[in-house]
């Protein structure tokens, strides 16, 4: 009976993932990361994602600082931050964020401050969305592990 809880939670996780895939928020790279998770590294995905959140928030703060500068002109620095964000976002399968950053970079290359501001706002909004959804995902995963552990202590 206790195992049912774990199964239901797994179904919830899969449903949430399918939803995020359907929305274009995540892509198959996220699944690749899941495949790298096993008993020897049971929290691999959440660890990587937490590093991503930590790195990204720094980059987002820098970007915001640059875009909102009165005499804004450091497009080169902006491009560097965006390249980093593009790289790490695609490494975790954050497809929508990657695409927004690419558009942001184009606006930056064209030295277009209005487009940059718009892109920044979209980026911040979607970043928050992704963060909330992934937190939800990992919370369900935690619950599932505990539920599975209660009945099947040595189960894989």
């Amino acid at each position: 009976m206790l195992g049912l809880g774990a199964d239901r939670l797994r179904a919830d996780m899969n449903r949430l993932l399918a939803f995020l895939f359907h929305q274009g928020v995540l892509d198959e790279q996220f699944l690749q990361l899941q495949q790298l998770q096993d008993e020897s590294s049971p929290n691999f995905v959440s660890e990587v994602v937490n590093i991503y959140f930590h790195e990204s928030e720094k980059l987002l703060r820098n970007l915001r600082g640059l875009v909102l500068e009165r005499e804004f002109s450091d497009y080169k620095r902006m491009g560097i931050h965006l390249n980093q964000l593009i790289g790490s976002s695609s490494s975790i399968g954050a497809k929508r964020l990657t695409n927004i950053c690419v558009a942001f970079r184009a606006a930056s290359d064209q030295n277009n401050p209005t487009a940059c501001l718009r892109a920044l706002e979209l980026l911040e909004h979607d970043y928050c969305y992704l963060k909330n959804k992934l937190h939800e995902f990992f919370q369900i995963e935690q619950q599932r592990v505990m539920a599975a552990g209660v009945r099947y202590p040595i189960q894989n």
Partner: protein
């Protein structure tokens, strides 16, 4: 076991040739990417050392001018995987420095990049890069790379043993009951210097 029986006999009976486990030096300024590549390599049964910059990589390899003594940490590096876009020293610049080093130029260097730019790829391959991987790097990429590097190192080791057999052929016939160590191999067998792949000389 006759000396002249052929290299196949020697190969079959001699100790394992080349490294069976790769030690990979991974270079990337992104913490996320370091974590991922580390995991990819560990899952592929490789030993990993991950550093965050080209200068750290050179330090680790003992190439930074601060003459490190033999065996900086005792672990020989069999493969270097480096990101292309890094602040300070790019992966391309790191590649050049490694290929310029007489001690390190034989180590295969793989460049990783999230950007599929043909001129970039060409430039790296011309400079002697073993391969160019598009990020995000997949498990299949790592497996293919590992197989290819192990095979090359095995071949080089065989080539070296053959060379040594020619040079150190014992005068008297070998005792068939003794352990077949037909040619004495030096303790640290250095593979013959590897020319850049594109030149195709050998």
């Amino acid at each position: 076991m006759a000396i002249t029986a052929g290299e196949e006999v020697m190969a079959r009976d001699s100790p394992p040739s080349g490294p069976t486990e790769l030690h990979v030096l991974a270079v990337d300024d992104s913490h996320v990417d370091r974590k991922v590549i580390e995991r990819l390599l560990k899952i592929s049964s490789c030993r990993v050392t991950a550093v965050e910059s080209g200068s750290r990589a050179l330090q680790y390899l003992g190439l930074d001018g601060e003459r490190a003594s033999v065996g900086f940490d005792g672990l020989k590096v069999n493969l270097i995987m480096t990101d292309y876009s890094m602040p300070g020293m790019t992966g391309y610049e790191l590649l050049k420095k490694i290929k310029e080093s007489s001690t390190m130029r034989e180590i295969p260097v793989v460049i990783m990049s999230s950007e599929n730019i043909l001129t970039r790829i060409d430039r790296c391959l011309e400079e002697g890069a073993e391969d160019f991987l598009l990020k995000p790097v997949k498990l299949a990429d790592v497996k293919r790379l590992k197989d290819s590097v192990l095979r090359e190192q095995g071949e080089e080791h065989e080539g070296c043993k053959r060379k040594l057999q020619d040079e150190y052929m014992p005068a008297s016939p070998c005792d068939p009951s003794s352990t077949p160590m037909l040619c004495p191999s030096p303790p640290s067998l250095q593979p013959p210097s590897k020319r850049p792949r594109l030149l195709n000389v050998d």
